[in-house]
Symmetry: C2
Subunit: 347 residues, 2 copies
C-alpha cells in the first residue's frame, strides 16, 4: 500500500475548488482571448476573421479504455482531435472549452493528470482554454470539448467543394493509429490472463504514439500558406481514408477513385498488420484515428505537391455516376466501403 | 402493450443517419451562421462583434431525472441554461452546438423528442444549431451544449466590475424553480409508493413551469438597450441568489448586503414553501435554477429601474471588509451563505 501514489478525494475540493484549480493552471496567450474561465461565458475578439467551431464528446468505455490509456494521453488526444477538425477547415485553433463529467472513482490527482494532458496540447498548439463545466457523473468519465478557430473568409475550405478530376491528396501516412491500438489490446488481453506478465511494447513506438498521442496537422495548414496552395475541399481522417473520401465525394456530388498501391504507410504499420494477419491497406482505409488531412486540389496544382515528403496523391474525384471505387494492386476495380473498425476486425 | 408508442431502435439509423435526421430538422436563420451541421466545423461570421462562448454539461441522474422530466422539456431547458449564460454577458445568443451521449435504452422517437425541445428553444431565441457530436453511452444520457453569442465590445458586462455602493438588482422573481422541483419530487415519491395514484400537479402551473421550462432573459437584455442602461456587473441565477451575489462580490473584490424583505417572490412560491415547511426567503437565496439576471448598477441609474415591474433592488455592494451579509426582516445582520440545495433540504 505504501507505494500507492497520493490520493486526494474530489469532494475535498468541491466544484468551485476544482474550477479554481484548473483556472490557476491556465494562462491566456492569444490576443483574441479577452476573457477566459471565471465568468458566465468566455469572450473572444474575432479580429475580423471567420470563427470555426467544432465539438467532440468522448465517453469512457466507448471511445477510450483507461486500462491502457494514461489520463494525460487521453487529455492530450481529446484536445488534438478537436484541433484537427479546426485544421480541416484550413483554420488555426485558438480557443477551447472543456465540459467534464467525472465520478468520485477519480481522485484530484487523476483530474490533474487529465488537465495536464489537455493543457500540454493547448500549449503546443497555441490554444487558450477559455471555459467549460465540471460536474459529477454516476458512472464513468465523459469529456466534451469545443474548439474554436479563426481563418480569413477566403481561406476556409469546406468538404462539399471538390470538383470532378481534382486530385485526392493525403498528408503523412495512414493505418498506424489502428495498428497501435491492436498492439495495446493484445497486451491488455495478455495482462488479463496473467497480471505478472509485463506488457511487451518495445519496438512499436511509432504506431503506439500514433494511437496514444496523435497530432493535428496545424503544420500542414501553415505549409499551405507558404506554398500558396488552397485545397478545393478538405476533411481530417478520424474514421479511415475510405469513409472520409466518401464524405468529400458525397457532399460534393461526385464519385471518387482511390488507388490501393498509392496509400502511404509506414513500414512498421505494414509489418505489424501482417503479423496480425490483417491486410495493411484495409487498415489504412478503415482503421481511422490517423488525424491526417485528406484534401482535393485542382490538377493545375499538381506541381506544388509533387515530390513533397508531406503529401501523397492517392486518387482523384470522378463524376457521380462512377461511384466510390478502389483500384487494387492488379488494377481491378472494387466498390469502396466505409466499414468502420468493428467490421474490419470481424472480417 | 398496444398503447405503447412506436419504438424505433437507434441502431436502425446509425450515427450518420442520426446526424442526417437532426440536420434535416435545422434551418439556419442567422446571417452570421455561414456553415452549420455537415462539415468538420461550423463557420461563424462575427460581423465585427465580440463572440461570447459558454458550455454546460447535463448528466442523467445528476442534473435531471427522466422519471418526471419529459425529454422535450429537458432539451428546451438544456438550451435555455446556456442562452441564459450568454445573456448574463449582456450578449445575444446566436449559435449552439450539442454533444450527446445516449444509450440504446433510448429510441429514435425519444431522441426526436429531445431535439424537438432543443430546436424549439433555438427557434424561440433565434439561435442556430450549427454542429455537435452524437455518440453512444454505456449508461445514461449526457448532454453537453455550447452556446455562442455576440455583442458590441462596449456592451459586454462581466462579473468582476461591480463598484462599491452599486445597487444589486434582480429581474423577475425567485425561488419558483426550486419549489416546482419539490412538488415534482413529492409526487414522484407518492407514485413510487402506489403507481395507481395519479400525480396531483394542479394549481402549481407557475412553479412547475419555472422548473421544467425556464426562460433566459433575452428580453431583459433588449430592455437594457431601450433603457440605455448598462449594468456594472452581471451574472445569471443558476445556483441561487446568495451564491451568485457572492460571485459578483468576490470577483469584484467587494462585499455585498442583501435585504431579506426585498427578495421578489411569487405568492405561489411563498405559499408552497410554507406548505413544505421551508422558509420562502431561504428557497430564493439558495434554491437556484431561476435563470433570472442578477446585476449591479450605479446609484445614479436608480431612477431607470425604480418602479419597473421587471426589476427589484435587493441590496447593494459594500467594501470588502464588510463581507457577505443578509439583513433579516427585523434588521438583524447574518452572514450570507451559499448553501446549495443539498444543505437546504437537510437543514
Amino acid at each position: 500500500m505504501s507505494d500507492q501514489p497520493a490520493r486526494t478525494e474530489l469532494s475535498t475540493l468541491g466544484e468551485f475548488g476544482l474550477i479554481d484549480r484548473i483556472a490557476s493552471a491556465v494562462e491566456l496567450v492569444n490576443p483574441s482571448s479577452l476573457q477566459g474561465i471565471g465568468d458566465d461565458a468566455a469572450v473572444i475578439d474575432a479580429q475580423g476573421l471567420m470563427q470555426v467551431v467544432t465539438t467532440d464528446m468522448l465517453v469512457e468505455g466507448v471511445h477510450f479504455d483507461l486500462g491502457y490509456v494514461p489520463l494525460k494521453h487521453l487529455g492530450y488526444k481529446a484536445m488534438v482531435v478537436n484541433f484537427s477538425d479546426v485544421c480541416a477547415m484550413n483554420a488555426e485553433p485558438r480557443q477551447a472549452t472543456v465540459a467534464i463529467a467525472i465520478s468520485n472513482r477519480f481522485s484530484v490527482e487523476a483530474v490533474d493528470e487529465l488537465y495536464t494532458g489537455m493543457l500540454a496540447a493547448c500549449k503546443h498548439y497555441g490554444v487558450d482554454l477559455v471555459g467549460g463545466d465540471t460536474t459529477s457523473s454516476t458512472s464513468g468519465l465523459v469529456l466534451s470539448i469545443t474548439a474554436i478557430g479563426a481563418a480569413r473568409t477566403e481561406d476556409i475550405v469546406y468538404r462539399h467543394t471538390a470538383k470532378e478530376n481534382d486530385l485526392l491528396v493525403v498528408s503523412g501516412d495512414l493505418g498506424g493509429a489502428f495498428m497501435g491500438l491492436q498492439v495495446l489490446e493484445r497486451e491488455k488481453a495478455v495482462f488479463r490472463q496473467d497480471p505478472n506478465v509485463q506488457p511487451d511494447l518495445s519496438g512499436f513506438d511509432y504506431i503506439l504514439q500514433r494511437q496514444l498521442k496523435p497530432e493535428a496537422r496545424k503544420d500542414i495548414i501553415a505549409l499551405f500558406r507558404e506554398m500558396k496552395l488552397k485545397p478545393t475541399a478538405m476533411i481530417d481522417i478520424s474514421d479511415g481514408l475510405a469513409s472520409e473520401a466518401m464524405h468529400i465525394a458525397r457532399r460534393s456530388g461526385l464519385g471518387v477513385r482511390i488507388y490501393d498501391d498509392k496509400i502511404p504507410m509506414d513500414p512498421l504499420t505494414i509489418q505489424t498488420a501482417r503479423d496480425f494477419h490483417l491486410d495493411p491497406s484495409t487498415c489504412a482505409l478503415n482503421g481511422g484515428e490517423d488525424y491526417e488531412l485528406l484534401f482535393t486540389i485542382a490538377q493545375s496544382d499538381y506541381e506544388k505537391v509533387k515530390g513533397s515528403p508531406h503529401f501523397t496523391v492517392v486518387g482523384h474525384m470522378t463524376d457521380k455516376a462512377s461511384g466510390y471505387q478502389l483500384v487494387d494492386k492488379q488494377g481491378g476495380l472494387h466498390a469502396l466501403k466505409a466499414q468502420g473498425w468493428d467490421a474490419l476486425l470481424k472480417s
